[in-house]
């Protein structure tokens, strides 16, 4: 049975698209047929992060309006088997997505795919609600920072009240926390919220901690999902998160600093 997983956050710029690309690619690497859909109508970006921006011919809205077939709009990834991208439209019409239209496409995708990853736009308005309405599971992307944590709490409220599962009294949407841009050094100095703090406040299970890493920007520059950079800490962290999502027991890394030698510590002073 296909599963719909929505990547959401409330706040913008916390790493939803980066995470959608990495997480979806990670699922495909594990052999699951996966489709990543860009729900951010008007602000198409998943194509750039996935490196397929020059292959977009038809989009999500074209398919909803019956101007193209789903198979014409789906872009097959050239690096990873089983991975497809459904780009969004650049239209400014914010009512381009209708619940019925989205449902029809998701139903069609469900027949063919194991996982459908929905990359939500920021905010808690219609676009974000559309991305989470049909979700079976939701991954809340949060930065260890006050406004992001607050907005995550808001979006959790929206999931619990306005998703299809909530409206129809089905089993609730399964929630996961993905803590991104985590900087252990700053946490150690007491400058940044600890993972335990965020968990205590949001009270949802932790899927993964993605450390702040130069690899994320580098990967986006070249249009490669960062999970494919398996030498980078961020790439490994996404692969771990995918494994946990699939039910494997993987210990969280990046929670404690690497052991430093005596001289390192003495010389660190106020670094």
């Amino acid at each position: 049975m296909a599963k719909i997983v929505t990547m959401t956050s409330g706040k913008g710029g916390v790493g939803k698209t980066t995470s959608s690309a990495a997480f979806g690619t990670g699922l495909a690497l594990r052999g699951f047929k996966t489709c990543i859909i860009d729900f951010d109508v008007g602000l198409r970006n998943l194509d750039l992060i996935m490196g397929c921006e020059r292959r977009v011919v038809f989009d999500f809205v074209n398919v909803i309006n019956g101007e193209a077939k789903l198979s014409q709009a789906l872009i097959k990834d050239k690096r990873v088997e089983n991975l497809y991208i459904l780009p969004t439209s650049q239209t400014r019409d914010k009512d381009a997505l209708s619940k019925e239209g989205v449902e029809k496409i998701l139903d069609e995708l469900k027949k063919e795919f194991d996982y459908i990853v929905c990359d939500s736009p920021a905010g808690i308005e219609k676009g974000a609600q559309m991305a989470l309405y049909f979700a079976d599971e939701a991954i809340i992307v949060t930065n260890p920072e006050v406004s992001s944590v607050r907005d995550s709490d808001r979006i959790l409220g929206v999931i619990q009240a306005k998703s299809r599962r909530a409206e129809q009294g089905l089993e609730p949407v399964k929630e996961h926390l993905l803590l991104t841009r985590y900087d252990l050094e700053r946490v150690e100095k007491g400058e940044m919220l600890k993972v335990d703090d965020v968990l205590e406040i949001l009270a949802i299970p932790l899927l993964g901690i993605i450390p702040e890493s130069p690899a994320v920007l580098k990967a986006s520059n070249v249009g490669m999902p960062v999970v494919l950079d398996d030498k980078s800490a961020a790439g490994q962290a996404y692969a771990d998160a995918v494994a946990r999502f699939l039910g494997e027991k993987v210990e969280h890394r990046f929670m404690k600093p690497e052991k430093k030698g005596f001289f390192d510590r003495l010389l660190r002073r106020s670094a």
Binding site: E145, V146, R150, G157, G190, K194, I201, L266
Partner: protein
């Protein structure tokens, strides 16, 4: 922590402040989120009814719906002005108000 941190002045860590502020603001926002949508209207209408009998300020009525296991409690708090409250109580009892 390094050797030199010992001599530094200790402020509460910024992260600790962030956590505390978040806990306070979210406790408040979660309360608002769970209250039914009719509550503000109910508050307005209750206020109008009470005003017919006792002159009170708009901000002197607080209304809260609390859910406990098994039952919900609708709590309405009306703060009456001191003199007026006595007058209202007396009027309700059918006696002339005591001079203040």
């Amino acid at each position: 922590m390094s050797l030199f941190d010992i001599f530094r002045r200790k402020d509460p860590a910024p992260a600790a402040q962030a956590k505390e502020r978040l806990q306070i603001v979210l406790a408040h926002e979660r309360g608002d989120r769970n209250s039914p949508e009719f509550l503000p209207q109910l508050q307005k209408e209750l206020l109008a009814v009470i005003k017919k009998y006792v002159p009170i300020d708009d901000d002197k009525v607080a209304i809260k719906l609390e859910r406990e296991s098994g039952c919900s409690v609708l709590e309405v708090n009306v703060e009456l002005p001191v003199g007026k409250a006595r007058a209202a109580a007396a009027a309700a009892a059918g006696k002339p108000a005591a001079a203040n």
